[in-house]
């Protein structure tokens, strides 16, 4: 099989490269990778860019022409093609615990803190926000807790249950976590494991201070949620 004249001399590499980058963006949306990598507000931009790139690649394929790429341009094109294929084939599988260990712990004082939500329906992030705004541990003692998150090892303390907060993309993810009194007589959970936890809010003395802690009554392993990042 011979290529049409307009695609000879390596001219096919450019539409291929453009199409692959478009496919990377579209596939990120289709496969749900975007939920793991970027905050939702940026998703439409990625979808539109993917469509534009695929359309331009098709236009280049059909009506393309122009000069054949120079050896240097061929190298650049080939590198792009290889990386795009690698991104397509190898999905991101970050270790949340590893990422969190490399980040400072802090929390945005964002509005939208919903005190109306009953304790049993609060997410982990909502609990952390509440405890930051009303830090007296006695206020919350006895409240039912039902949250999910990943296990985050903490040096000098028991593993916490945590979530990652993201403002833009995974790059700026910062962890928020809650201390847990894990059920006695069972081994401590492994780092990065996703768990759903039911229990009650309690208090304990730690490092000379009283703090809120979740007394876990049931712990159930769950798969990583489709949207693991919190705004």
């Amino acid at each position: 099989m011979t290529l049409p004249r307009r695609l000879r001399g390596g001219r096919w590499l450019r539409p291929l490269g453009l199409g692959l980058w478009g496919a990377v963006l579209l596939q990120s949306g289709i496969s749900g990778r975007l939920d793991l990598l970027l905050r939702a507000v940026f998703h439409p931009l990625v979808w539109i860019s993917g469509v534009v790139l695929v359309v331009v690649a098709l236009l280049e394929l059909v009506g393309g022409g122009g000069a054949a790429p120079t050896p240097r341009q061929r190298t650049v094109l080939l590198v792009g093609v290889v990386v795009a294929i690698a991104v397509l084939l190898v999905p991101p599988r970050p270790s949340f615990a590893d990422l969190a260990a490399n980040r400072d712990r802090e929390l945005l004082d964002e509005p939208g803190l919903n005190f109306v939500v009953p304790p049993g329906q609060r997410s982990l992030t909502e609990w952390v926000r509440l405890l930051r705004s009303q830090p007296d541990p006695k206020l919350h003692a006895g409240d039912p807790v039902r949250i999910s998150g990943f296990v985050l090892p903490v040096p000098g303390d028991r593993p916490q249950l945590a979530r990652l907060l993201v403002r833009c993309c995974l790059v700026d993810a910062t962890p928020v976590g809650l201390p847990v009194l894990w059920p006695p007589g069972r081994p401590l959970p492994k780092a990065d494991q996703w768990l759903e936890l039911r229990g009650v809010m309690d208090t304990e003395r730690f490092d000379g201070q009283t703090r809120s802690v979740i007394r876990a009554e049931s712990v159930r392993p769950i798969p990583r949620p489709a949207r693991p990042l919190e705004p």
């Binding site: 450019r14 539409p15 490269g17 453009l18 980058w21 990377v24 963006l25 990120s28 990778r33 975007l34 793991l36 990598l37 970027l38 940026f42 931009l45 990625v46 539109i48 860019s49 534009v52 790139l53 331009v56 236009l59 280049e60 009506g63 393309g64 022409g65 122009g66 341009q73 650049v76 094109l77 590198v79 792009g80 990386v83 991104v87 190898v90 991101p92 599988r93 970050p94 270790s95 590893d98 990422l99 260990a101 490399n102 980040r103 400072d104 802090e106 945005l108 403002r167 833009c168 993309c169 995974l170 790059v171 700026d172 910062t174 990065d192």
Partner: protein, 325 residues
């Protein structure tokens, strides 16, 4: 590197790349549209070359491009290729990532209770652009610009602005009458066919995407290997905090459209000068940008840009700390 850490670096690489690519596409689209709508780029060459007015005009052009620094690179390249004065193009390159509606709005959204920051960020960005443009414009263009860009630029510049040694075309040695005829010929450049413009835009995108990949790989690896708490551990010390936050902005490499939200996370832990330094340095230079700058500037010029930007931002940060602490 452990497999977990490698997997995290791979995810960070993808996050950086997928976040930046749409902005890169916006920039290439604008530069391609500009090439199509104004093929000769005559208006570009009429922009001011004055050392003060030039960068200010370039900075003001930023309001026309609501993109971050990744999108600015192809537009700045187009400005330079169509013969814009160096001062204006460099002013645009360095100031526009901050002086655009999205970045101003996101800074306001992140810091509504710190009005000084809303003023200091754009003013600081203009100041940095002025210094860098003045400094870089002193270099000969051959030492500043990438050869391919220089060649493209010299084709459109008036012959009087290109030295004899640098000319690749022109009327040297030609029949004087023919030269006169050439000089008198209408300067209007015909609009190129859409397919040709599309091809040019595609080539530009592919090339910039490859450089973006390179920058994102380095940024993801550095982020995975350098614990961020180390950088924020010196938050309270006036000078050290500025240096630490500058280093963080170089490493993190997030776009200027969103860096204010990232800065919000550690605003309370660091000095005001350090906070401003983070918001000023990232849009001018970071690890991801170093790769993209490869289509514009020679390596020495990139190094000069980085060193000068760091020094200017350090001075601004110190001054702010003296003023506010």
């Amino acid at each position: 590197m452990s497999p977990e850490r490698l997997a995290t670096a791979w995810a960070l690489f993808q996050a950086l790349l997928i976040e930046a690519m749409p902005f890169l596409l916006i920039g290439v689209t604008i530069s391609t549209l500009a090439r199509w709508l104004s093929p000769g780029g005559q208006w570009v060459r009429r922009l001011p070359a004055h050392p003060l007015l030039g960068p200010l005009t370039g900075a003001a052009l930023g309001f026309a491009l609501p993109a971050c620094e990744c999108g600015n690179v192809p537009v700045a390249r187009q400005l330079l290729a169509t013969g814009a004065p160096l001062a204006t193009a460099l002013g645009f390159l360095f100031a526009a990532p901050v002086l655009n509606p999205i970045v101003v709005a996101s800074t306001w959204a992140a810091f509504p209770n710190q009005p000084w920051l809303l003023v200091a960020r754009p003013v600081g960005a203009v100041l940095i652009a002025l210094v860098l443009a003045t400094l870089l414009a002193r270099l000969p263009e051959a030492a500043l610009l990438q050869p391919a860009l220089l060649e493209e630029r010299q084709l459109v510049l008036p012959l009087s602005q290109v030295s004899l040694l640098e000319r690749r075309s022109g009327v040297i040695g030609a029949d004087p009458l023919a030269a006169q005829a050439l000089a008198a010929a209408p300067r209007r450049t015909p609009r190129a066919p859409l397919a040709e413009i599309l091809g040019h835009g595609s080539r530009e995108f592919i090339e910039l995407a490859a450089l973006l990949v390179f920058g994102c790989v380095i940024a993801a690896l550095v982020q995975t290997l350098v614990p961020r708490p180390w950088l924020l551990a010196v938050g309270g010390a006036p000078t050290l905090s500025i240096l630490a936050l500058m280093l963080l902005s170089l490493v993190v490499s997030v776009c200027s459209s969103v860096d204010a939200f990232l800065a919000l996370g550690f605003a309370a832990q660091v000095t005001p000068g350090a906070l401003l330094a983070f918001l000023l340095l990232g849009p001018v230079i970071d690890i991801k940008l170093v790769g993209l700058f490869g289509v514009l500037l020679r390596p020495r010029a990139i190094l000069l840009t980085a060193v000068s930007a760091v020094l200017v931002v350090l001075l601004i940060g110190q001054w702010v700390n003296l003023w506010l602490l």
